[in-house]
């Protein structure tokens, strides 16, 4: 073997270099680094509603209306809480008086008193805009006044909305309404002004029961994203193909 000293050093150096580089590459795959990379990749707001925790106090609705300047005395609201009561004789009673602004303090679904022994199942379901990935409300806007921001939140441009009402008809979840003062389309926007300043939405903060949570689904370490990825969740009206981004825990088939 004619391996002189010079040759030996050369090969040795190259080998060392190659090992160094490949270890460097492994470094890149460390979970923290990956997570950091992932964070830079993006932001997509999502919501988780745990219906099993909701007691129907309506504190979320009250906070939302005051925070987002939706006239308090009107029946319209960006978020609301529905009460579902299924009786033994197969009737399903659903109501949300004044969008549940004052909560549910009487056992009178749709004005009827139902005895405890007559109830098969009953529960509360908080609702809000699903910030759909394929929002039909946006597709139908003829002037480009409603749109989806890059972070997934669907917004309405109040200066550009002509009030035609197409979007209100197009939303399969009945989320949209006319703002009684501005006379333009109005909807939940995940408290865009709060979440962009590192706060949570007004409804999430107001809920003492942890029934509502907001997070970033593109962040691997986000506890809310974890719930969606690892727990059993469902979305509303999946068959519409709107790809809703509000995920429900404990959703029942009688919920529409």
């Amino acid at each position: 073997m004619d391996c002189d000293r010079r040759e030996f050093l050369k090969v040795g150096f190259k080998t060392l270099l190659a090992t160094g580089v490949s270890i460097g590459a492994f470094e890149l795959l460390k979970p923290e680094v990956l997570a950091a990379l992932n964070k830079e990749k993006g932001l997509r707001w999502v919501f988780v509603v745990d219906t099993t925790k909701c007691v129907g106090c309506g504190m979320c609705v009250r906070a939302c209306k005051l925070e987002n300047e939706v006239p308090y005395e009107t029946n319209v609201s960006r978020t609301w809480v529905e009460r579902y009561v299924m009786t033994k004789d197969g009737k399903i009673l659903v109501d949300s008086p004044k969008a549940a602004r004052d909560g549910f303090i009487k056992n009178d679904p749709m004005g009827v008193t139902v005895k405890k022994e007559d109830i098969d199942k009953a529960f509360f379901v908080p609702k809000l805009c699903n910030q759909c990935e394929a929002p039909p409300c946006v597709q139908v806007c003829p002037v480009g006044a409603t749109y989806q921001a890059p972070d997934g939140v669907v917004l309405v441009d109040r200066t550009w909305c002509i009030g035609c009402g197409y979007c209100i008809m197009a939303c399969p979840y009945g989320v949209r309404f006319f703002h009684p003062l501005y006379r333009v389309a109005e909807k939940c926007n995940f408290c865009y002004h709060r979440i962009n300043k590192g706060m949570k939405t007004a409804c999430v903060d107001a809920c003492a029961f942890g029934a509502r949570q907001i997070g970033n689904i593109k962040d691997l370490e986000d506890p809310v994203a974890r719930i969606i990825k690892t727990e059993r969740t469902a979305v509303l009206k999946e068959e519409f193909g709107t790809k809703p981004h509000v995920f429900y825990i404990g959703l029942d088939s009688i919920v529409r």
């Binding site: 925790k53 005051l66 009561v85 909560g103 303090i105 009487k106 929002p135 480009g144 409603t146």
Partner: protein, 161 residues
Amino acid sequence: MKNHVIRPLFVVVGLVALILIIRVFVVPKDFGVHERGYMFGWYRKSNEGDWKTFKIKYQTSEYCKDCHSEQYKKIINSKHAKVQCENCHGPAADHPEKPEKLSIGRSRELCLRCHAYLPYRPSVYAQLPGVPITLKMQDPNVHNPGIECVTCHSTHEASLK
């Protein structure tokens, strides 16, 4: 081509040109197709910023804790720890400048939002550290009707006075 064809044609072409010129002035510079493409992202970009600067009203209990540290400490160590100050006192937006004083929710209806007995209201409360506790519920028609809850109960301590 005859006059009666050419003349209206000029009018139409003129109108279209006029509309295009007006459009240049009326449509904002940043209106157009953005990240989500024509179907979902055709809008005025600066509207995102408009919404971001909307005024915050609910400040959370963190905002209250320095001036009202005594009350804050009380509630944070009680079973009402997860209830925000503003749930009963209203949004603190510009407080203490205006309003100098916030309202105090003392009504029976306010307490009943969580504590009125409903057969379908979840009876276990698991938001506190440690073991889940039962959510205290009362039938408002039986439990001292007509008297405000705060007559006997302390809200900040979540206990009897």
